[in-house]
């Protein structure tokens, strides 16, 4: 059987470093081992109006209900494949292969899901703390540079600079992204600054979540691994954003799309877009995110007020939290936050048939909306709405989400929060990812 071209290219990259370490014993994706925590981060959701309290509101069952016609999701797999020996330091660091897939699935009016292959994209990544490794005496980078020059490999900073050209989603097969996980951010200018700072004030750049993974930090392989996973996540979100943008270009903005996960800020990543590049960032974001609804299942950010969180966890099915604004939205791949026009509400999608003992997080999801989806230009306009007006605009969306409760999914771990079309989209996307058996081809590189 012929080895796929993409894997062959990956093999070439891996062969550049093979003399300097050993292969992992088992190929298991990081995502299969990591379980995200719930409400472990202080979030910023707060009431829209000063007079709003946190009492859950009933979801009125009858009334206009939106029908989601497209579902968007992305999947990723980050698999350690090799350990590079850094003799100068006396340690080894893992090299990861990341595979991301993003897609849009449509639903016709008979209820059937249909794939649109123009909007299904996957890309390969290879991740390692390259700068840190070079600093520690690693010498296997010359072939990598050659591959970059040939255009078969692109550095992740180029993705930050111009994701549209870097990914080139018009092509089925794109270049492999070489991710330098030494740095927490993607932008080249920030990396240069960090490197300069490293010489001047190394302690500062080696602290905190955004620390440079150099020198003694390379002993902490756990950090290297989680940095890799986070980077894959970031790259995936960028690719997802590009696919969504293309989808909007083709199908317009009237179709309601359900997005798996939060609606992340994306305006700045489209600055080189042919058409959208000429708009302001907020206009770009509005173009893409109007009528997109994010469904967040893994809840990490807590609302600002504890009472609010308590009320959320005590909601019954058929109730929702009051509409809130997100005081800041997190930029992709950055620790910076921006005040962005996002609205949110919580609801309990499903509860177990045997009932729940409250308070409970089981079945709680967060709905993420761009303010334009409820017909407003900014949160001030939302502030001026009455409760009844808010209900008229938000009700159809919430009912639309509740409609997606059934059929439920058979995955026991997610059956209370996952919606079936997203689950099917994921299944379809997972089929595009290389399995560990296929990645085992890489072992053959090491044996030759």
């Amino acid at each position: 059987m012929k080895v796929p071209e993409k894997l062959q290219l990956l093999g070439k990259v891996i062969s550049a470093i093979k003399a300097h370490g050993h292969a992992v014993s088992r190929l298991i994706a990081e995502e299969m081992e990591y379980k995200p925590a719930i409400f472990d981060v202080q979030g910023t959701a707060e009431p829209v109006r000063d007079e709003d309290d946190f009492t859950p509101l009933p979801i009125i069952p009858e009334g206009p209900t939106i029908n989601f016609q497209a579902f968007i999701d992305g999947v990723q797999r980050t698999t350690p494949v090799y350990w590079v020996s850094l003799e100068k330091l006396g340690t080894q660091v893992p090299v990861h292969v990341g595979h991301i897939a993003v897609g849009v699935v449509l639903r016709d009016n008979t209820g059937k899901l249909r794939c649109k292959f123009d909007f299904i994209k996957d890309r390969l990544l290879i991740l390692m703390p390259l700068t840190g490794m070079e600093r520690a005496g690693f010498e296997g980078t010359s072939l990598l540079r050659e591959l970059i020059d040939e255009g078969n490999l692109i550095p992740d900073s180029q993705v930050a600079e111009d994701p549209i050209s870097a990914f080139n989603i018009e092509k089925e097969v794109g270049p492999i992204v070489l991710c330098d996980t030494t740095f927490s951010g993607l932008e080249e200018s920030m990396r240069e600054d960090d490197l300069k700072e490293l010489d001047r004030n190394p302690e500062r750049v080696k602290k905190g979540a955004g620390a440079l993974l150099v020198d003694e930090l390379l002993y902490n392989t756990g950090r290297v691994r989680s940095r890799a996973q986070g980077r894959v996540n970031t790259i995936r979100q960028i690719l997802e954003m590009l696919v969504v943008t293309k989808f909007r270009e083709v199908y317009g903005r009237e179709i309601y799309v359900l997005v798996d996960g939060p609606l992340f800020f994306m305006g700045k990543w489209l600055r080189k877009h042919d058409v959208l590049g000429g708009l302001r960032e907020v206009e770009r974001e509005k173009f893409v995110l109007k009528n997109a609804v994010g469904l967040v299942k893994s809840l990490r950010g807590r609302p600002k007020e504890m009472m609010h969180l308590r009320n959320i966890l005590c909601m019954a099915e058929g109730e929702r939290s009051p509409l809130m604004k997100i005081a800041d939205a997190v930029d992709i791949g950055s620790s910076e936050t921006f005040v962005k026009p996002h609205m949110t509400t919580y609801l309990r999608l499903r509860s177990p048939p045997e009932g729940l003992s409250l308070p409970s997080p089981v079945g709680i999801v967060r709905v993420d909306l761009h303010v334009s989806t409820i017909g407003c230009d900014n949160t001030d306009q939302v502030k001026c709405m009455s409760k009844e007006e808010e209900e008229a605009l938000l009700g159809p969306i919430v009912r639309g989400i509740r409609r997606e409760r059934w059929p439920s999914v058979t995955d026991k771990g997610r059956m209370f929060t996952q919606v079936f079309p997203i689950s099917e989209t994921e299944r379809m996307l997972h089929a595009r990812l290389y399995s560990s058996r296929e990645l085992a081809y890489i072992y053959s590189i090491f044996r030759t």
Partner: protein, 702 residues
């Protein structure tokens, strides 16, 4: 040469579909003739240049040149060939993209149809071969998933083809769909229950769970002849008529084809299925068994159709074959000459019936006509026989209203046939070593001129019964008859049974006071004839007697014929075999009555079994029918080359005799309609579902 074969097959179908050489009398013959001409021309060309078929333009030029020097009928045939090649070359290809709004999508979302080439109908893929961990492909089976389209219907017994590419050559695998399943990713009904509002059946779900149809295929034929599984996700199509005929008929030469019925292609056109004459009528194989529920399986109707087909084949090919059918129940076969006697009347009769399937029968009869089957030919080659009424020996004991020849048997007629015939006068449970020894001794005593144990020798049943009575009234335990002695008790038992048969049960059939009656003159049957012998109103003993007598006589005659003997002795008569047919087909219903399973000692049955076992080598073919094949002697079934099953109950499908029907094909048998049968022939590698038209006489009414 396989390329030439493919070319000629395509040519023949083109003649049928595009040149009007179809659906009329003589169409098939004409197609055969034109194809034969084409074959001889192309064969000579291939001998000069083996790649001639790879260059259509070059071939066309050569044919046109040849046409200039050809005349008459050959020129006409050649012109057909030229037209065909011309069409193959000059079909215009125009790419035309069509864009149609897709159903079910809101405005703004459009589906683009694939490009359509004018002039060529693209073959419609219906699915792909699916080779997985849980469903591996084997040399005999594979599975495929079916496209999710509401207008695409796949049922078991459909015939499909998958085409793959191996070393730059197309390989076709044709198979019959054994089973169709619909599956989803849901593990169990419990999951489904909870997934639907925790068991709310009124819930309307916004998203349909993907459900896919999977077909399981039994491989019939593979064009490269290999015994290997398909090795890829090959596209699957409904088989064309040509592919179906190839799958079931590639190993049957045209000279040996007997029409067995029709299966259907995707467009619901009938596709003929043939049996190999050498495997139905001898000498390679013989016998056919039909099973199915009474009143539902249409066993007799199918047998009649097959007899017509066999005799038609004999007539077309100049073969010397005749047929004898026993009417065992009701009036099944005694009215077969009461239907329409030409095609116009046939179509009128079909039109005026109330049968909801009349259109189907019309199509099938038309297809028969196209295949050259003329059901009216035998109408003037029929002869009907019936026994006389017990009270009035001049009148026949039959349901038939028309002309009938009477038959009867005297003692000497049965003696001429042999001991087995007289055994038929006893009940099977009465036949043991002792009683059969007595019967054989009686026959020996009568036929052996030197024997005096029964003196004076009886010539009639009256005399025989009287004689035996005298012997039993002696006060001796052991009585000599023939070359042995027999206990008086045994002799009394035999006398008792014979008296019962002769005086009561078989009055009319057996002449009591005459040594010779009017036995069925099987030695006088002519090639092409169909004789119907009515035994329906006889006592079961009489039925067994007549069947055995005829069957045994036929066997002797055919054996002699096969040995190239000019005459054979039957009783005291010397019978000439010049005009006797080379092969005889015998149809009998309720075969389990004549050759039942079980019973260690059953000489009557063993005669039939023995004859049947040798049947293929002497040209005697038994078409047996019964409700349950499992009740028929196993040796007869073991020697049978073709099995046919109509609608049956599950209880009737038990036993190894039905092992050839597996899975969904067996389930299909439970729901077959009248006029449908599942068939397995020795030369076919897999069963096939066939349909046949309603018999002529049933179109007029019961």
């Amino acid at each position: 040469m396989s390329d030439l074969g493919d070319f000629l097959r395509e040519f023949k179908l083109w003649l049928r579909d595009h040149k009007g050489l179809a659906k009329k009398h003589g169409a098939r013959k004409k197609r055969d003739a034109v194809t034969e001409t084409a074959s001889s021309i192309l064969y000579s060309m291939i001998r000069e240049n083996k790649n001639v078929l790879d260059n259509m333009l070059g071939l066309l030029d050569e044919l046109k040149e040849l046409c200039q020097t050809t005349h008459g009928e050959r020129k006409e045939h050649l012109n057909y060939l030229i037209d065909f090649v011309n069409e193959k070359i000059s079909t215009p290809l125009i790419l035309k993209e069509t864009e149609t709004p897709a159903e079910g999508f809101p405005s703004g979302i459009r589906e683009t149809s694939p490009p359509v080439r004018e002039g060529i109908t693209p073959r419609k893929t219906i699915g792909r071969v699916s080779i997985t961990k849980h469903s591996p492909a084997t040399p005999t089976n594979f599975e495929f998933w079916v496209e999710d389209r509401e207008d695409l219907h796949l049922e078991s017994t459909a015939i499909i083809t998958t085409i793959g590419r191996i070393r730059d050559k197309n390989v076709k695998i044709t198979g019959i769909v054994e089973e169709v399943r619909a599956i989803s990713a849901t593990d169990s009904p419990m999951d489904d229950f909870y997934a639907t509002g925790y068991g709310d059946p009124t819930l309307e779900l916004p998203t349909k769970r993907p459900i896919i149809k999977i077909g399981k295929v039994s491989i019939i034929r593979r064009t490269d002849g290999r015994f290997e599984p398909p090795m890829g996700s090959w596209p699957v199509y409904f088989a064309t008529a040509e592919e179906i005929m190839d799958a079931y008929g590639a190993d049957i030469s045209e000279e040996k084809q007997i029409l067995a019925g029709f299966t259907w292609d995707e467009s619901k056109n009938p596709v003929p299925i043939f049996l190999d004459a050498d495997y139905l009528l001898g000498y390679e194989g013989a016998h056919l068994n039909i099973a199915g529920a009474s009143g539902l399986a249409t066993k007799t109707s199918y047998a009649l159709f097959l007899l017509q087909s066999i005799l038609n084949y004999a007539d077309e090919k100049g073969e010397s074959i005749a047929a004898i059918a026993f009417n065992v129940k009701e009036a099944d076969l005694m009215r077969i000459d009461e239907g329409p006697n030409d095609w116009e009347k046939l179509y009128d009769a079909i039109k005026s019936t109330d049968d909801p399937l009349k259109e189907k029968h019309r199509i099938l009869w038309e297809a028969c006509r196209e295949e050259g089957l003329d059901p009216f030919k035998i109408l003037d080659k029929l002869r009907f026989f019936a026994p006389p009424r017990p009270g009035d020996p001049r009148k026949p004991l039959t349901f038939r209203r028309g002309r009938v020849d009477l038959y009867s048997y005297g003692l000497m007629d049965l003696v001429d046939i042999g001991g087995g015939a007289l055994l038929g006068l006893l009940e099977p449970e009465d036949i043991d070593e002792k009683t059969s020894a007595v019967i054989y001794a009686i026959v020996d005593a009568i036929t052996d001129t030197r024997d005096t144990t029964l003196s004076p020798k009886p010539n009639t049943f009256d005399q025989l019964l009287d004689r035996i009575n005298q012997l039993t009234s002696r006060r001796t335990d052991w009585i000599p008859i023939g070359s042995g002695t027999h206990h008086s008790a045994t002799l009394s038992k035999v006398l008792n049974r014979l008296t019962q048969a002769v005086r009561h049960q078989l009055v009319g059939l057996l002449l009591q006071g005459d040594g010779r009656g009017n036995p069925i003159p099987v030695e006088g049957i002519d090639s092409g004839q169909l004789w119907i012998i009515d035994i329906s109103k006889l006592h079961p003993k009489g039925q067994r007697l007549v069947f055995h007598s005829v069957y045994q006589t036929l066997s002797r005659l055919l054996e002699a014929k096969r040995n190239n003997e000019e005459t054979v002795k039957l009783g005291g008569r010397e019978i000439r075999l010049d005009n006797f047919p080379q092969r005889i087909v015998v149809f009998v219903d309720e075969l389990n009555k004549f050759a039942p399973k079980g019973r260690e000692f059953a000489p009557l049955r063993s005669h039939i079994v023995d004859i049947t076992a040798r049947g293929r080598s002497i040209g005697l073919s038994l078409l047996g029918a019964q409700q349950l094949a499992s009740q028929v002697d196993e040796e007869i079934l073991a020697n049978t080359s073709t099995f046919v099953v109509g609608r049956s109950h599950s209880i009737g499908m038990r036993g190894a005799v039905y092992d050839w029907l597996q899975g969904g094909l067996r389930d299909r048998v439970y729901v077959l309609k009248k006029g449908e049968m599942m068939m397995w022939h020795a030369v076919h590698t897999r069963p096939v579902l066939i349909s046949f038209p309603k018999p002529l006489h049933t179109l007029i009414g019961e």
